[in-house]
């Protein structure tokens, strides 16, 4: 079970502001993913039971939105924007560099489960392009050297815990 007391409490607080049970679905899935890392078929059934919705209602929502991971992701989910503004500022090279460094292609997770790499569409930070998002955080004005520093730091964090 993913939905615990804390998630339930958050949903209760939101209920005061949202007129229907179904409107809790997106926030609930966000909370479930924050805890479990991804949305499994079991998670879909659990969300459906919690909101008294047919599981298909939940499934069709999960598959519609790109932020819901339908398979497990690494501890660090690296998402590089390659849309036009970032592309014009060299995003492709960054992706290439990351693929080389991590030894995986976009859409894949490293064997040790530390990193998942993905290309994403516009993150709405084009003025500081190129940009990427790792888990909840934005990293902007990227260059090869800035990227290297970020990744070195994450490597250290993943092997020793946060500094």
């Amino acid at each position: 079970m993913i939905i615990d007391q804390e998630i339930s409490r958050k949903m209760d607080a939101l209920r005061e502001h949202l007129p229907t049970e179904q409107s809790l679905l997106l926030p609930l899935l966000h909370e479930m993913q924050a805890k479990a890392g991804w949305i499994s078929v079991e998670a879909i059934k659990e969300a459906a039971a919690y909101l008294k919705l047919p599981p298909a209602r939940v499934q069709e929502v999960v598959s519609f939105y790109t932020m819901y991971n339908r398979k497990p992701v690494g501890q660090k989910h690296v998402q590089v924007c390659t849309n036009v503004a970032c592309f014009l500022r060299g995003a492709d090279k960054l992706v290439e560099g990351l693929e080389k460094r991590l030894g995986i292609h976009c859409g894949q997770t490293t064997a040790d489960g530390k990193y998942t790499l993905n290309e994403v569409e516009c993150l709405a930070a084009c003025g500081t392009a190129p940009v990427m998002q790792i888990n909840d955080d934005y990293y902007e004005n990227l260059s090869d050297s800035v990227l290297k520093d970020i990744m070195d730091k994450l490597d250290r964090e993943l092997s020793h815990g946060p500094s």
Binding site: Y65, V84, L88, N118, E121, A125, T128
Partner: protein, 443 residues
Amino acid sequence: MVQVEKLLTQHNDVEGSHTIDVYRSLGGYKALEKALAMTPESIVDEVKKSNLRGRGGAGFPTGMKWSFMPKAPTFPDGRPKPKYLVCNADEGEPGTFKDRLLMTKHPHMLIEGMIVAAHAIGASRGFIYIRGEFVFETKRVEDAIVEARKMGLLGTKVSGTDWSFDLVVYRGAGAYICGEETALLNSLEGKRGEPRLKPPFPAMVGAFGMPTCVNNVETFCAVPTIINDGAAKFASVGTERSGGTRLFCVSGEIEKPGVYELPINVNLNDLIAHCGGVLGGKKLKAVIPGGASAPMLSAAETDVAMDFDSLAKAGTMAGSGGVIVISEDTCIVEVAARLLKFYEHESCGQCSQCREGSHWLARMFHRIEIGQGTEADLNAIAGICSNMAGQTICAFSDAVTGPALSSVRKFRHEFEEHVRLKRCPCKPEGHVPKHDHHASATL
């Protein structure tokens, strides 16, 4: 030189501008006080007189949109129907990043604008729909709502009046289409973000079936200055049909990218010069003047004012204010292929013209870019586009045709060269295209 007139972002650099104390010390929430003493009709009139037009993309006159809201709607059994106010903060049009700035630096300006708007249309609830990736911005706005509630500016009996209004933040989950207002409403209801057929318009049947008004972040943020300093002052900046300043988001190959608040009718050449010119002193090739969906302008077409009407006359659109600058060294075919890949990914799939059309176009442009395109591909593009534009539930399909048609029409020689050489002339000979654009799967 451009005239720098700031009405929204003059306090960008003030430390703590996002907190209620600093916001109030700079005159914040005075407009709310003033608005609560005004009748709803006079607020709507003031906004009409300001010539404020929606900053999300469509440029619809804001005061008029508010006036479409029914005065006292009722259910069939006579009970009063609640009215809702929604802020579209699903900033996702490629090239646009102003709402992020506003929510980061001035969340209370947004909240104040929303409370004034809610009073004007008689709304009892408000929803701020923020794109899911904006985790930091979401927290900022949520914290500001808590502050405002503590001060009695939100909740039961707003500022000691008999009227109650509260706000909640709703996070999106990664879908460009949710920036379309009816898709946003479906998403807010916990559904797939698929646009709705109109009519009925949201003013009649909106969020949760109730009369609803949806406005963009920047639109709401313009409301306090209009109420404080009067519609005339706002209208005095800009044109007769489009008042005020606009937050232009300048990106791409430009020396000083960023958000620039300037009169809405600033000349595009002046705007580019104001941002330091093309990156590295290169020559300009093209500009996308209003976010990805706006048809490109060639370098010969940039002597144009940036207001809605002037850009429409120039065959493009002011859209969301995202100005993407492209230099002479960049391959237009590759830029267009990127954009079409985006649309292919983001089409919601409801309408076959859009679902299939965006897919075909993305494949064709990619094929041409990597040297596998034919003359027949080039000639088919216009036909596909004519089967998409105006044929679907929402304007997404039309948006796809913006970059597709403008790039081929204005830079046809570049496309023809790709076909003739069977490779991208901007890449070194023997260059092997790394990705098939379908290879990079998303989760």
